[in-house]
Symmetry: C2
Subunit: 226 residues, 2 copies
DNA sequence: GTCATTTGCTGACCAACGGTCATATGATGA
DNA sequence: TCATCATATGACCGTTGGTCAGCAAATGAC
């Protein structure tokens, strides 16, 4: 069985070499501007070999997104070690989430591209499922924090946890989208940080005083508007 | 002077023909999959003629984005006609904002693509400025609503209006990004609506009870985390 | 109306690029 | 050693955004 294992190992090594080469190039030049030829040369393989391992260029960057987000999720586990309030945890999570993309901006572009073009992408079916899964795992961290807040009595049990976790995640992505690539370079980081912190604090304050009756009133307003 | 005017008029007609043709095709097939050749044929011009009017394919779809957002902004002026609370106005704005993109999903993709790749796009300088301006006009609608809320005593004067308007806009885009192209098609619309409404209500509740002391506490927490 | 000049349009061309696959090369085992 | 199988290669292909030499049309002077 040594033969098969060696082959398997070598195949995996090649695959890693491709991903590592691609990752460097994408983050250096932007994934849109890196060609498969560039990746082939940097990984010291032929262009055709690339396609022995990946279905498409899109699949390469989706794999990179997958593994980076997976790392982020693991790293975020440390959040729960200290005994912090849920409010603190949300803000801290937001901070490390932003840092993650600030460190590799291209990764944010890749992620948003994935979200905007999910249906169009040329990926093996399993790749699609995997990326959706790890993305959901990120969102679930927020969910866990919210549940923690409910258990600790910080937030009322009335809140729609699923909805709030999506809202917080959407909010983070929206703010990052708004400021990470536009406006004066020098002030982008600080602007995102303060917007995230300031507005999440408002959201958290709203959460803390939430009553189910608030939701009902809101729905009534909706009927009147229609 | 009749000659120049006719020429000018004809040039403008050709330009409109191109934009109209492009708009139909983009929204039918997705802007990524429409070629300049397709646009040329549909507008009954040669491919080279397209480039007499627009610097690039990107500039075509940016122009479409520009004019559609401009229309949206004008249409949103009706928001202020009735005497509604700022809370109601925010929710109503959010609703029509989402409807705008629900109606033309490709437009949302174009907008997000613009935001993610602003620095990379092959546009005439003025086009870039114009699209940023109309986008800012959209954001300013939210700002006007917030100011209205402060004047009416709904929101405390302490709130950072500029930051909140960006937060709300970012939030809307983030939620739309999250759900417009992913998940079960049948439930996407409702999911976005309820997330926007539910979470904006929480945010608004937080706004209503905001005190500048809240902000200071939040900043202190930040120092402890670092 | 003719013709030189100016203006504008055309579509063949070009480079680039993702992806393919016939052919070549290397590994394996009898 | 050699037949067979597995894998790698890079020339090739179709496509696409953008270019521009050549052509067509418009204009205005005579």
């Amino acid at each position: 069985m040594g033969l098969e294992e060696r082959r398997k190992r070598e195949k995996e090594q090649r695959r890693s070499a491709i991903l590592n080469a691609a990752r460097k190039l994408f983050f250096e030049k932007g994934f849109k501007y890196v060609t498969v030829d560039n990746i082939a040369k940097k990984s010291e393989l032929s262009k055709g070999s690339i396609y022995l391992h990946f279905k498409s260029k899109e699949e390469i960057y989706t794999h990179i997104l997958f593994s980076d987000i997976e790392k982020f999720n693991k790293k975020s586990a440390h959040l729960f070690q200290d005994n912090k309030s849920a409010a603190e945890l949300i803000l801290e999570f937001a901070c490390i989430y932003f840092d993650f993309f600030l460190n590799d901006r291209e990764l944010f572009r890749i992620m948003m591209t994935f979200m905007l073009h999910t249906e169009d992408m040329n990926l093996a079916e399993s790749v699609n499922e995997h990326i959706i899964e790890v993305t959901n795992n990120t969102i679930k961290i927020i969910e866990t924090i919210l549940q923690h807040g409910i258990e600790q009595g910080e937030f009322p049990p009335d809140i729609n946890v699923r909805q709030c976790r999506n809202a917080i995640w959407g909010f983070l992505n929206g703010i990052i989208s708004l400021h990470l690539f536009t406006g004066k370079e020098a002030s982008r980081e600080e602007r995102i940080r303060s917007t995230i912190k300031g507005s999440l604090s408002i959201f958290i304050k709203g959460l803390k005083s939430f009553r189910r009756s608030d939701e009902m009133i809101s729905q009534n307003n909706n009927f009147q508007t229609i």
